[in-house]
Amino acid sequence: MRTLYTLAVPLLAVVTALALGAVVILATGGNVLLAYQGLWEGSLGRPQSISETLVWVTPYIFGGLAVALAFKAGLFNIGVEGQIAVGSLASVYVGYAVTGVPFPLHLILAVVAGTLAGAIWGGIPGFLKARTGAHEVIVTIMLNYVAIQMTSFLVSGPMKDPNPLIANAQTPKILQSARLPPLLPDPAYRVHWGFVIAILVAVGIWWLLQNSTLGFEVRTVGANPQAARYAGIAVGRTMVMAMALSGALAGLGASLEVVGLNFYHTAGFSVGYGFDSIAVALLGRGDPFGVIPSALLFGALRAGASRMQFLSQIPIDIINIIQALVLIFVAAPALIRWIYRVRVPREAASVTGEVQLTTGWGKAET
């Protein structure tokens, strides 16, 4: 019964958000039926659409896990966007610039490079938070801008594909030896091994949080840093670890996107993943297994959006509105209670569980 209530809020939140999205479309003179028909056809209505949905779901699982893991430590990682950008860039660089390394090794090197780059980009705000108290929200957002501008500089200059036939600002393609083999034989189905790995990583993160020492420390620091300190946990170190791991997840997701799907990097390739990942993590209640269905929903929305735009000329941006509405209802279940007259138990009320994110602008931990 309790599980039912716990599920009731996210489900009703999604339904209400879609309904309000329809109101927005109507109010601006769009055709709702056509729009939602396109959304369905483009996301789950055809086998190929399902494959496209899973292509979107893959980075969302990684991004959602990254945000969720930081949540567990009481940290808000808004920097997934930047961590994806540097991860992708590092992995592409190793993929095309390192030559003469045989297949599985080169692939592994590329993925490790991307993961490490993400870990560093996520670890910096963790370190600054622990050392100086600089709030991770501001630092991660600033690092997003730094990463995105740096990427745009690199792909249009030093890392630009030298092929004169390519006018776009994009890197060369990575070598065959750094690519993942296709998951399905038909190239029309773009879903790649990254999706399978994403599910495995979600299980791994769940295990890490539940059963490992680090997971215990992360959860304790998130629930009550003072208590954690008195219990002898190095709070600052745990924060750095949590943020680095969070960034590593984002970087890993980006690398798999490179070696399994895109094979190159171009400026603006990841724009939007950051905010989407926050939505994925919040709708998934900050839980690794909650992230998967939540990523499925947002992946389906994104995949369906292009078909929707094609059929009904409704701008893709409607997805952001629906996303924000979902967040409002998930974050304030009292609204859902009030609209639908359902009873939601108190303990299901907080989206991030026992963790409170707003702790003023913080002070140093070490």
């Binding site: 927005v24 601006t28 003179g29 769009g30 808000f76 808004i78 600054l128 050392r131 100086t132 108290g133 600089a134 709030h135 929200v137 501001i138 630092v139 957002i141 600033m142 690092l143 801008y145 730094v146 501008q149 740096m150 745009s152 500089f153 200059g157 905010f275 926050i278 939505a279 919040l282 000329q313 409704i314 701008p315 941006d317 409607i318 997805i319 952001n320 509105i321 629906i322 996303q323 924000a324 509405l325 967040l327 409002i328 974050a331 304030a332 009292a334 609204l335 907080s350 989206v351 991030t352 409170q356 994110l357 707003t358 702790t359 003023g360 602008w361 913080g362 002070k363 140093a364």
Partner: protein, 346 residues
């Protein structure tokens, strides 16, 4: 009787003085940099950098004042970016349909207030975590402005829009240095400066200010003395939204006559950093906003001087500076004691 003059060390240990010493330190650095550019490129370059600094600091100053209004009463607001973006678009859209910049300005301010009202309802009434509530505002703003911009202006922005003209100051604008730097600025930029003084006075010399600070430091005590804590927080958050709205209006009604997706480009977050660096005081925040303004003005001025540096690299300056400032200042900056805590009446 004689009193021994206090040493600099003793002076520096007083928090208030240390604050001003810090300001003087940064002002000194800025002055040295400006003197250097003056020597290198001539006085005209320095004047141009200073004028651009004040212009570029406008949305940061207003955003920081918005943050002060919210956080002094105990509500953390990371949704300023979204409020600005919404206001920038609303101002532009209203301008297109009404052909009246005054109406557009009012609409922009109101839309900022409206987004702030959402933040207030979520964080004060429903006690949603304030960071999450602010993030919701940001995502909603990206969605709404992006959607409406494409839906209403599919064929590109209508041409022929205008921006607010500079206020005619007559002979004042011809004063050497001060004229081009201050008296040739446009209305929102000057209003922002006036508002710094107004907010300072209101915060430290009026009943509203006393109540705001009381609610931000110790809501229970304020409540005991008869202040309606949540009503005041509602008021301050919406007021902050209106200030952020004016800051948003700068982008489309004063800076350029068109709207681009995501055009606020993180200014709302940099404004928060300015607020923190300025220790939640209007003058401190203004000083910090000017510092960030310089960081934005220097690349612009370099381009005007024809110095060729990749724009993506010099464009990083404000963002990197924000990180340095936040990392350097926050440990010592003390936010209002009840900042971020919802108030539940026992």
């Amino acid at each position: 009787m004689t009193v021994a003059a206090p040493t600099i060390g003793q002076l520096a240990s007083q928090p208030r003085l240390r604050f001003w010493l810090q300001i003087a330190f940064w002002a000194g650095i800025a002055a040295i940099l400006l003197a250097l550019t003056g020597v290198q490129f001539g006085a005209a370059a320095t004047i141009s950098i200073l004028a651009i600094t004040i212009t570029k600091a406008t949305p940061l100053t207003l955003g920081a004042l918005a943050g002060i209004s919210c956080e002094r009463s105990g509500v953390v607001n990371i949704g300023i970016e979204g409020m600005m973006l919404t206001a920038a678009f609303t101002g532009f859209m209203t301008g297109v349909y009404s052909h009246n910049l005054a109406i557009a300005l009012v609409a922009a301010i109101a839309s900022g207030g409206l987004m702030a009202l959402l933040h207030a309802v979520l964080s004060i009434t429903f006690r949603v975590d304030q960071i999450i509530s602010g993030t919701v505002v940001n995502i909603l703003a990206v969605g709404l402005t992006g959607y409406l911009n494409r839906q209403l202006f599919t064929t590109g922005a209508p041409a022929g829009q205008s921006v607010l003209p500079p206020i005619p100051f007559g002979p004042l604008s011809q004063i050497p240095w001060i004229g081009p730097i201050v008296f040739q600025q446009k209305p929102i930029a000057l209003t922002a400066i006036v508002l710094v003084f107004v907010v300072h006075f209101a915060l430290f010399r009026t009943r509203w200010g006393l109540r705001t600070r009381a609610v931000g430091e110790h809501p229970l005590a304020a409540d005991t003395l008869g202040v309606n804590v949540n009503a005041l927080r509602y008021f301050n958050v919406v007021l902050g939204g209106a200030l952020a709205g004016l800051g948003g209006a700068y982008f489309t009604l004063e800076s350029v006559p068109h709207f681009e997706a995501l055009m606020t480009n993180g200014r709302g977050f940099i404004a928060l950093a300015a607020m923190i660096f300025g220790k939640w005081t209007p003058f401190g925040a203004w000083g910090a906003a000017l510092l960030f303004g310089v960081a934005e003005a220097i690349p612009t001025a370099m381009q005007l001087q024809g110095i060729n540096v990749p724009f993506q690299i010099v464009g990083l300056l404000p963002y990197v500076l924000t990180i340095v400032v936040v990392a350097g200042a926050v440990g010592r900056a003390v936010p209002p004691a009840a900042d971020g805590q919802p108030y539940v009446r026992a």
